[in-house]
């Protein structure tokens, strides 16, 4: 059984009189330890898929089973609890809480989990060490560079040791040098720590780093030039 199982996932929404369907009967399996990149044109639905996997957007129909739980059936509150325990989200714009220090930002997800203050401190220090920012622990976001802010964002995403880390254009707001550093860090999360990653990007160079590369086109998921389709309960690659 795959860590993430997406079955016949459809998302529709209305824009005026028009019904838009960014995701149509999408199927996808992601195994534990996979590093998957997801590309697509603007409006192709890649962020919609990522947000559905992260449990912050509800699909119109279909199932998303992660680690045995169908998250489409969870209530709003239960889904929040589930996110706290299972999802590490790396935002494009870092989205750190401006009034909290780097340390407090990283600690935030742990405040929702049952653990002692000492255990929290240990985990935050490990996460800040992993992104090489221990010496900036007491700095506020405004005192950090864009790259440092994103590293704090990554530390916040990994600190609770989530089931899966999702990233929405995590290098989209960074310069070339900083992008390199962040990508190196993201690769290490997968290769050294064995974390499962799903990254959305529009940058082919970023996507190329992932061993598994997917594209969303016209609501369909394409892998290696073929649609990822489910036939009789098994995955098959269907020629375009």
């Amino acid at each position: 059984m795959a860590l993430v199982e997406i079955r016949r996932l459809t998302k529709q929404f209305r824009k005026g009189d028009e019904v838009i369907t960014p995701l149509q009967e999408v199927n996808l399996d992601i195994e534990a330890g996979d590093f998957v990149s997801l590309m697509g044109a603007s409006g192709s639905g890649k962020s919609t898929l990522l947000n559905a996997v992260a449990g912050i957007d509800r699909p119109t129909s279909g199932e998303i089973v992660i680690n045995g739980s169908d998250i489409t059936k969870l209530s709003r509150g239960s889904l929040a609890d589930w996110r706290a325990a299972n999802i590490g989200y790396i935002f494009q714009m870092h989205n750190l809480i401006p009034v909290l220090t780097a340390y407090e930002n990283v600690e935030l997800p742990l405040l929702l989990l049952p653990m002692s203050a000492m255990e929290r401190q240990k985990r935050v220090e490990i996460a800040l060490d992993a992104v090489n920012l221990r010496d900036r622990a007491n700095h506020y976001p405004r005192q950090l560079s864009g790259g440092q802010e994103q590293r704090v964002g990554i530390a916040r995403a990994i600190v609770a040791n989530p089931t899966i880390i999702v990233g929405d254009e995590p290098t989209g707001d960074l310069d070339a040098d900083t992008t390199e550093q962040i990508l190196e860090l993201v690769q290490r999360l997968n290769s050294e720590l064995g974390m499962t990653l799903l990254l959305v990007t529009h940058d082919p160079k970023v996507a190329a780093l992932a061993p598994r590369q997917l594209r969303l086109e016209k609501g369909k998921l394409i892998e290696k030039g073929r649609e990822v389709a489910l036939v009789g309960g098994d995955f098959q690659e269907r020629s375009d």
Binding site: N51, D57, R76, G77, R83, I87, N95, I97, L100, P109
Partner: protein, 380 residues
């Protein structure tokens, strides 16, 4: 929830000017609320006190200002013989101002032994011995002493009355802290010989079994055909009637108290709504990290309650401090209402500010909790 206290406090501190202004507004409103509350409580104490309901005041019929009521002093003996009457105290009242005033000075002349038996006065300085031995001696209520900066050993003059201050007292009845007690015969002679043999009013203390209304009717019936007809009411009713004009104003002023509460509600709600609208994206991020909508709601509520309560406590503290320090009172026709600080006023003020904080936070908290995460992350 306390794990998020740093976040709540830092969020308030982030917009400190806005927070301070809200806290100040709340403080001013609760300050006024305290003042209005203390006046109302002062009036209630005068009119609803059980002791005041079981003590009768005999006044000259159809007279209002103390200077116009002149009862023969020998009415004391007649009244004392009526059934149900335990004791009758003759009182001569002199006041510097019969109209409503914030600085009314009221002299009550009473026989010294009856003064001590009928009033629960505790001397803060001076001595009763000196009061007994000097005919022009006066003991001064703590509130008047504070307001007029009076001390033991000083002489004090109002109009034609000059007394030597031999004691400062505090009474178990706060309104009495605004009185000056002298010997009855001194006050009767202080303004010439015309008042000798007359008193302003009689204070009638009843036995526990006596019916106040029946005794009052009996007293008035007794004197109906005498040289001066009387009007007898319980002390509470007498004080309420005497202060009826003021009571109307005070009754109206309680709307001012409600207006203050409404003001705080609007102020804190506005600030909290602004704070929530500023942080739509931040609340979406918090939800993405796993905060339940209910927790977001409580965080917003905590901000609102903190601002309202902090301001409230400041206002209550300042209000009660000023009330304690100022010895304020309003009086008319020789009866005064004292503005006193009290624990129940502090508690009710704190509760009001906390409840207002909760009410002010409900709508913005609900708004924050209902944030659509994806939309807020994209457009927030």
């Amino acid at each position: 929830m306390f794990k998020f206290a740093p976040y709540v406090l830092k969020s308030l501190w982030r917009h400190r000017s806005r927070t301070m202004l809200t806290v100040s507004g709340s403080a001013v409103a609760l300050f006024v609320f305290c003042f209005v509350g203390s006046v109302q409580r002062g009036l209630s104490r005068l009119t609803e006190d059980q002791e005041a309901l079981r003590t009768l005041i005999v006044f000259q019929e159809n007279r209002f200002c103390p200077t116009s009521s002149k009862l023969p002093e020998d009415y004391v003996r007649t009244a004392a013989k009526l059934p149900g009457v335990k004791d009758v105290v003759p009182i001569k009242v002199f006041t510097n101002n019969c109209r409503a005033s914030l600085d009314v000075v009221v002299f009550n002349g009473m026989p010294p032994e009856q003064l001590r038996s009928s009033r629960n006065l505790k001397l803060l300085s001076g001595s009763w011995g000196e009061f007994d031995s000097r005919t022009d001696a006066a003991v001064v209520g703590a509130a008047v002493a504070q307001r007029r900066q009076l001390k033991v050993g000083q002489r004090f003059t109002i109009g034609e009355v000059t007394v030597s201050i031999v004691g400062i007292f505090r009474s178990s009845v706060p309104a009495e802290d605004n009185y000056i007690y002298t010997h009855l015969d001194f006050l009767q002679r202080a303004r010439g010989q015309s008042s000798v043999g007359t008193v302003t009013q009689l204070e009638v203390h009843l036995h526990d079994s006596a019916d106040p209304d029946q005794v009052a009717a009996a007293i008035d019936a007794q004197f109906r055909n005498g040289p001066i007809a009387t009007s007898t009411r319980s002390k509470g009713v007498f004080q309420r009637d005497t202060l009826s004009d003021l009571a109307e104003l005070i009754g109206f002023a309680h709307w001012l108290g409600y207006a203050c509460v409404g003001l705080v509600l609007a102020l804190v709600a506005t600030t909290t709504v602004m704070a929530v609208q500023d942080r739509i994206k931040e609340h979406a991020v918090l939800q993405t990290l796993g905060l339940r909508p209910g927790r977001i709601f409580r965080l917003v509520l905590a901000e609102s309650v903190l601002q309202s309560t902090a301001g409230g406590l400041l206002g209550i503290g300042a209000g009660l401090g000023l009330l304690a320090w100022g010895g304020f009172a309003v009086g008319a026709e020789g009866v005064t209402i004292s503005f006193n600080p009290s624990l129940d006023l502090a508690v009710s003020g704190a509760l009001v500010s906390a409840i207002v904080g909760v009410l002010a936070g409900i709508l913005p908290g609900w708004q924050a909790a209902r944030t659509e995460i994806v939309t807020a992350l994209r457009y927030g």
